[in-house]
C-alpha cells in the first residue's frame, strides 16, 4: 500500500490499515474486514471494551479512504499520547498488557468474537492502563476453530515474562531483537529445568516449542483435521485462556538489588536542597506550560510527577528495570494519570526496527517533547560513558525545544565516586565548559544554584 500515507507498521492484516492525513490518524476498514468489523460493532463488544478502558475509542468518519479500491469505511481512533514498545516496558507493564489481552479475548468469546492476533505492539498505555489500539483485531468466532493468535501470545508475552521472572529481568530485551516475540525454542532452552514441573510453562512453552519443530513442515489444516476432527470446543478455548492467565499471573518479579533503589537516600541533597530543586522545576514548568515532558534518567519518577501532577503528559525513562517497575507499581496503586514509566538505556536508545527499519520508531522519531528533564544525569553520560559535552548538547537539542538540566560538578561526591576507579580525562568537565558546550545549541534562559548544594539548575531553550 504505497503512496497513500499508510503507516509503515500497518501492512500485515488485509482487513485494513492506518493512514495519516493532515496530521490526523485514520484507519481504513477494507471490505475484506467488513463483516468482522460490523459484527464487532453490533455485538456490543466494542462498547463493553471501551467502557472497561480496554480498547481505544474511535469515530466513524466521512473521510475519503486512502485506498478506495479496497475500502469499506474510514474510522478515526482517539490519538494515543505516546507509542511505547514492549522492550521499553517494565515487568509488570508487560504482565498487565498480557492480562489485558487475555481479558479482551475472554470478553470477545462471550460476544461470539475472537482476537485474531495477540501482538504486544497492539497494546499501548493510556492513562496508565494497557489498552488495545487495533480495532480490527477481532474476527467472528467459529466454533471449533483454534486460536490463531496462540503462538503470538506465547512469543510476545508468556516467553519474555517467564524469562524475566525466572532467569533474568534483562532478558526482556530479547523483544528488541525478535520483533515477533521470543522464539519458543530459545525460551525453552533458557528456562530452568524446574519450569517443566509447571503445567503452564511445560505445555505453552516447552512442549509447544517441540511441537513447532516437529510439525514445522505439516500444513496446519492437516494437523487439526488429524487430531479430533471437531477442532477446539468453546470450553476448551476458555480453558486455554484460563490456563494462560493462571500461568501469567503466577509469574512474578520483585525489584531487588536495584541500582537506584534507595537513590534518594544516598544523594548528597539535604532536605532543603531537595525541596529547592523541586521548587525550581515546578516554577519553570508553570512558566513553560508544556504539553509533554520526557524525564530522562527519571529513577522512580519523583520529578516526573511534578509535571504529571500538574496535568502534563510525562514519560519517566530510566535504565534501571527496578526503578521503572517501582514507578509503575506506584502509579498503578495511586491511579495516577499522565505518567508512563519506561525503560531506556540512553547510551544506546531504542532504534528504528522492523521491516525496512520503519515499523518501530526510534526514540528521537517519537519526539520532540515540549521539554526534557536531565536531572542528575549529565555525569553519567559525560563521565561514565565518555560522551563529550558538545555531543550531549547535540543529542538533547534533537529531542526538545526546552531543556531543564542539572549541572553536577566534578567535586560532587557522586562524580567523585565515578572517578574513583579511573583516570580523570575530563578536563573540560567544568561549569564553564558545560555552559560553552551547551551555549552553542541552546540559549541559557535561567540558571539557579540549588540551595545547600554544589549543583546548579539550568533552563535552556534551543537556538533556531
Amino acid at each position: 500500500m504505497p503512496n497513500n500515507n499508510a503507516h509503515a507498521a500497518s501492512f500485515r492484516d488485509p482487513s485494513g490499515f492506518l493512514f495519516s492525513r493532515g496530521g490526523i490518524l485514520h484507519r481504513q476498514v477494507n471490505r475484506a474486514g467488513a463483516d468482522d468489523y460490523a459484527r464487532f460493532m453490533e455485538s456490543g463488544l466494542y462498547e463493553k471494551l471501551v467502557k472497561a478502558n480496554l480498547l481505544i475509542p474511535h469515530a466513524e468518519v466521512d473521510e475519503k479512504p486512502a485506498d478506495e479500491s479496497l475500502a469499506f469505511k474510514v474510522i478515526r481512533p482517539e490519538r494515543v499520547a505516546f507509542i511505547s514498545y514492549p522492550y521499553e516496558w517494565s515487568f509488570s507493564e508487560l504482565k498487565d498488557a498480557a492480562l489485558a489481552t487475555l481479558s479482551i479475548q475472554r470478553r470477545a468469546l462471550k460476544a461470539g468474537m475472537s482476537l485474531k492476533d495477540a501482538s504486544a505492539y497492539n497494546i499501548q498505555f493510556v492513562n496508565g492502563k494497557p489498552t488495545l489500539i487495533d480495532t480490527l483485531s477481532f474476527e467472528i468466532y467459529k466454533e471449533g476453530k483454534p486460536w490463531d493468535a496462540y503462538r503470538q501470545f506465547c512469543q510476545h508475552f508468556l516467553a519474555p515474562l517467564a524469562l524475566m521472572s525466572l532467569v533474568d529481568i534483562r532478558l526482556g530485551q530479547l523483544l528488541r531483537v525478535y520483533i515477533d516475540g521470543v522464539p519458543l525454542d530459545l525460551a525453552s532452552k533458557l528456562l530452568p529445568f524446574s519450569t517443566r514441573f509447571n503445567f503452564g510453562l511445560l505445555t505453552h512453552i516447552h512442549i509447544h516449542a517441540s511441537a513447532q519443530v516437529r510439525y514445522a513442515d505439516s500444513a496446519s489444516q492437516r494437523v487439526s483435521e488429524s487430531t479430533s476432527g471437531r477442532g477446539m470446543s468453546k470450553n476448551g478455548f476458555i480453558g486455554l485462556i484460563d490456563s494462560l492467565e493462571t500461568t501469567v499471573k503466577k509469574l512474578t518479579w520483585k525489584p531487588a538489588g536495584t541500582e537506584w533503589g534507595n537513590y534518594y537516600e544516598i544523594t548528597n541533597y539535604s532536605d532543603a536542597g531537595f525541596a529547592h530543586k523541586k521548587e525550581i522545576i515546578s516554577g519553570w514548568l508553570t512558566k513553560l506550560a508544556p504539553k509533554s515532558i520526557w524525564d530522562l534518567g527519571a529513577n522512580n519518577g519523583e520529578f516526573s510527577r511534578l509535571a504529571s501532577g500538574a496535568g502534563v503528559s510525562a514519560l519517566a525513562w530510566d535504565i534501571d528495570p527496578s526503578a521503572v517497575e517501582q514507578n509503575y507499581l506506584r502509579l498503578k496503586s495511586e491511579k495516577e494519570q499522565n505518567l508512563l514509566p519506561l525503560l531506556l538505556d540512553l547510551t544506546n536508545p531504542s532504534p528504528a526496527l522492523g521491516w525496512d527499519n520503519a515499523e518501530r520508531d526510534s526514540l528521537a522519531q517519537r519526539g520532540p517533547a515540549d521539554a526534557v528533564f536531565a536531572l542528575a544525569l549529565i555525569h553519567h553520560l559525560a563521565i561514565s560513558n565518555n560522551v563529550p559535552l558538545p555531543r550531549l548538547a547535540d543529542f538533547f537539542a534533537g529531542l526538545s525545544r526546552w531543556l531543564i538540566i542539572e549541572w553536577v560538578p566534578k567535586s560532587d561526591s557522586q562524580v567523585q565516586k565515578l572517578l574513583r576507579t579511573r583516570k580523570d580525562i575530563f578536563e573540560t568537565y567544568t561549569r564553564e565548559g558545560f555552559e560553552s558546550a551547551f551555549g552553542t545549541r541552546f540559549h541559557i534562559r535561567e540558571s539557579v544554584d540549588v540551595r545547600e548544594s554544589e549543583r546548579r539548575m539550568y533552563l535552556l531553550e534551543k537556538r533556531d
Partner: protein, 57 residues
C-alpha cells in the same frame, strides 16, 4: 472441519496441535466449573455473568 478463511498470520501447525491437546484436557475442567456454577446459582450463591466480567479485569 473447515477453518475458513485462513488466518492472515500463520498460526503454526505445532501451535495448533498443542493447543488442541491442551484445550481438550482443560475443557473438562471448564465444563465441570460451569455445571457447578449453575448448581450454585440454583441456591442463589453463584456469581452473575456481570460479576465474572469484572473478574476478568
Amino acid at each position: 472441519m473447515h477453518f475458513t478463511p485462513l488466518a492472515y498470520l500463520d498460526p503454526g501447525s505445532g501451535s495448533i496441535l498443542i493447543q488442541l491437546i491442551v484445550a481438550a484436557v482443560l475443557a473438562i475442567g471448564v465444563a465441570l466449573r460451569a455445571s457447578w456454577g449453575s448448581i450454585m446459582k440454583l441456591f442463589g450463591k453463584g456469581k452473575t455473568d456481570e460479576q465474572n466480567d469484572d473478574d476478568a479485569e
